[in-house]
Symmetry: D2
Subunit: 331 residues, 4 copies
């Protein structure tokens, strides 16, 4: 039985707490969050202790592992402390908005031999995982091009934009990880363009963008392109396409049902997409937690690492620089 404390009782903390509670090999020992009401609700729902101090939760002798779902600027401190105490860590991305801080933290974790998994949840989605498996099984030969479409249903609130670190570090980073994972090689060249087409006044204020495209190229020439938009009125659009030397892998977005409506005006119209990440990746969050628990229980390597977090963030930094300089940036 892996005994786990979840740090943070916000939107993502709640998801993780429920996933731990539902995992037969894990036990949710505690939930920690300075907001007393929130933490009590989550903890009570699963019969766990409610705590206000995350560091105390980490230090508990009856805690084997922690899940970090707190604000980004606390990630490095909590992760480092947990690793020092020999606790396994599942940490939400990004490690830190600052690449140097992230690099330092990752180096520290690696020096200490810490077991840290970065929460790139999409890798655990059944469809994305099946695509990766199909590539591994040789069903499309050598990968040549990866095309990623990733669009949010709508602009986040201004306050979120302000503290997000910008679209590349906040949103594109998931796709950069997906690109690395599907390419199977590290990108060495990054080009990006950025536009303000949804809410120009807001994004100018923060020197940010709402609509971006990033191209990536590996040393052997494999290519990927990511297209992001902060607003897709039709829902949370999450698609990848992988062109290989002997085939192509694609997939459909998810909808609540598979119903299709045909009328005099249109045929086979499907329902709107599952609207945002909590719905779209509900299965992936559970599978991610199960993979974390399994890695601990079986003493196996973490399926994603703190290094993955650094590498994705570095690609995001390159994209930022590419937009600023108008140059393809060498990683």
């Amino acid at each position: 039985m892996v005994r786990i404390a979840v740090l943070g009782a916000g939107r993502i903390g709640k998801i993780h707490a429920a996933s731990v509670a539902a995992n037969p090999k894990a036990k949710l020992v505690a939930v920690a969050d300075p907001f007393g009401d929130a933490v009590r609700t989550v903890a009570e729902a699963h019969g766990a202790d409610a705590m206000t101090d995350a560091m105390e939760a980490i230090a508990r002798p009856d805690v084997d592992a922690v899940v970090i779902g707190t604000p980004t600027d606390t990630h490095v401190g909590l992760m480092t402390r947990a690793v020092e105490l020999g606790k396994a860590v599942l940490c939400e991305k990004p490690i830190d908005l600052d690449i140097a801080e992230s690099e330092k933290a990752a180096a520290n974790v690696e020096r200490l031999g810490g077991k840290v998994m970065l929460a790139f949840n999409r890798r655990f989605d059944t469809t994305f995982a099946e695509i990766r498996r199909s590539i591994d099984a040789g069903r499309i030969g050598e990968v040549r091009q990866v095309v990623i479409s990733s669009r949010d249903p709508g602009m986040p609130p201004a306050a979120y934009v302000k503290s997000s670190g910008g679209i590349f570090r906040d949103m594109t980073i998931h796709d950069l990880d997906m690109a690395r994972w599907l390419l199977g090689e590290e990108p060495v060249l990054v080009s990006a363009i950025g536009s303000r087409l949804v809410d120009a006044p807001l994004l100018e204020q923060y020197d940010d963008y709402d609509t971006v495209m990033v191209t990536l190229q590996t040393a052997s020439g494999k290519q990927a392109v990511i297209n992001n938009c902060r607003e897709a009125v039709y829902g949370y659009d999450q698609r990848v396409e992988v062109l290989g030397s002997t085939g192509l892998l694609t997939h459909d977005n998810l909808r609540p049902t598979t119903m299709r409506l045909t009328t005099a005006e249109m045929t086979d119209a499907q329902e709107p997409l599952l609207n945002f990440f909590l719905e779209r990746y509900a299965q992936a969050y559970r599978a991610e937690m199960n993979a974390f628990v399994d890695a601990i229980a079986d003493g196996k390597p973490m399926p994603t690492t703190v290094r993955d977090g650094v590498l994705a963030l570095r690609l995001a930094e390159c994209a930022v620089e590419s937009v600023r300089t108008g140059r393809a940036v060498t990683v």
Copy 2:
């Protein structure tokens, strides 16, 4: 060069005349129709002679074959005369609304060794033909069930309903032929139900139906079901599905383009269907004519025969009787 006269300059006659004109192995010699204006327009468009008397057209020494697209009650007379004169015939279905007359005409054609092809155009549609070929190629093993959905975009005019011979002889007959063709065996048992859901007052007047279902069973137990409706607001719905012992064959309806529209209300909505038979089966009509010309030019058997016309009509008769008696009718 096969020299052809097209009898009838109405909707279907025009189609056939254009198909003959476009076939490099055929020559459109004449078009015959009592309506002088109509026939002149069609004939002139293709540089053929316009005639008002179909029998005269048949008798021309420079005519090798005739296409009968005249009113149903003239089919038997024209076909018989053409066969007597040794001309090949492509005849629109049905042979006659009366099964005894049809049987007699067919027996006569067979006795004389006449080359008569019945115009079951759907067999020449690329998709339906590919399904038949795929069955022949063993891609789904032994056929077990055939499901046919065939719906018109809207009720025909009252005058048409009056002289149509009823939905089973006029509309279902195409599907009965398709069922025979896809089953690969003759049905021996026919059950049918009929309803008046679209225009009850009109159909009661003619003891006819607008919505019907027919089930068929062959001696070895293979099954087919046909569902028809005279009105599908979304267009001309033409689908078959074949369940075999090792697989399933289905297909999509056709639309003018493959565009899909996604909005806040719906995703991947496709365009309305090609609206009626002239559009939906444009390719099939040409391929049907090409098959007719090829059979003549190469001295090969007709791809469909007058017997096919009789057998489909007999199944339609059985369906009529089944609705009337509430019994499954043995063919």
Copy 3:
């Protein structure tokens, strides 16, 4: 909190026990099954009491409701006892293989005002439920035709066939319920054909069929057709199509992922279907239990009733008779 005992610890009992345990408004008090090992495993997994006597479980004062997942020939006895003791019941279909017994049991339940829900799980599938809701919302106008394709992935074992009551009472009954539900009216005329195409020797032995078609007609003329086969090599095929006066509703089967593979031989090939009812209807079983618990907790009518069970079985009887007599049978 609704306190529930699950009767039967077999395949379906396990599903129901887990659904009760996962429902926050319900408590799994006991699981009863004469097979001691099976019942202990299920009970322990959810912290419930393991019992060997179902009647004792029903009688427990700390049990408000029972779920009957025992062999068919015990359904009536358990249901009747539970109703007499004022317990709510969720009963697997069929009530009994004998229509007279079923009718008697239903009449008794109704006389006593018992709260009995028949487990027609498909009504709780999100897609089928959305289709029903869309009809209710007027999205396709008046229903005209319902086409149901329902095929099992493979023949059940001979022992199952022997005691199943025949394909119409065992397999088609689900589709007959679905047809009633989607038609929104009671069928008054039933025609059926039956074939032995998968395993003729076995089915002849039990005077049963493996491939059947049933057509239904309501008093107002609405039509439905069901096509069943005991073997579809491509998996558990579960589709309905509803033609209305202003539109059409269809849907896709479910697969483990939405991945599509394109190679030199084929394009956009999807994965095999979810293979059988436990996988395909996993969500429906949970939703069914939630609906049962909600109806009890809120004192509302059961979403399906013992009468639904009788009516579906009666349609199955008519189908059996129709195959035997070659007549359309009036319900």
Copy 4:
């Protein structure tokens, strides 16, 4: 009646000759090609004069318009001569492999008020045209992102690669025109990456690429990305996707039929794609010719212009430079 001479009797010349012959408002007067056998075959098939000298064909007084389907290095000379003689021109792309020459030729045409249409055939494909119309009709609001996937079924012969002008000028140019057309604004920034993943030895020899991606940005920030590969084993892949402020437009590739095969291994597998441009764009070539003839007959502006050819070629030049310099290039 528009009297037309087709210059060039190769693959594309044959297509154009047949399109002219099939157009009721046009007359194919002559076909010109130095290869006597080829030109005789084409000319005879349509009852036109066979000529060996294109300049002579242009000069014929019974020729109103010419279609230039000759080798690229003859385009400017023929086009210029035709315009000087007041003949309308439909010219295959590119105008010339050299941007300066193209610019000069275009300026000359514009100075003389010549009627020149550049053969960007894809704009006349029914699906692409419907997408453009849907954008114009406001069905997706303001365009934000265009994603173009355009992949050939296989590498062209080495001789073709040698004289093609490189992938950007030869293949991507079609997509660059499509991007301009769908964006509805001129791109001002071009970034590109190029790889050699299919046949590196061959392409290194000519300093060319087989796998490329190009991103484009307009002054208002609209974005497009093109991904090309010279080899897609699954056929000729031709897709666009347009994200707008209120919706999304996508479409399917075309196949010979709409048949779908389901087996124990896969479900709903579709047929391979129409394999290359002659099949895929058969309808578009005819519609292109019809648009050309209509523009002449009705005295209306050409639907595409020589300027479109220059602008697409300029974007291709920018892409070449971007790959070489690793910079986003300002147009």
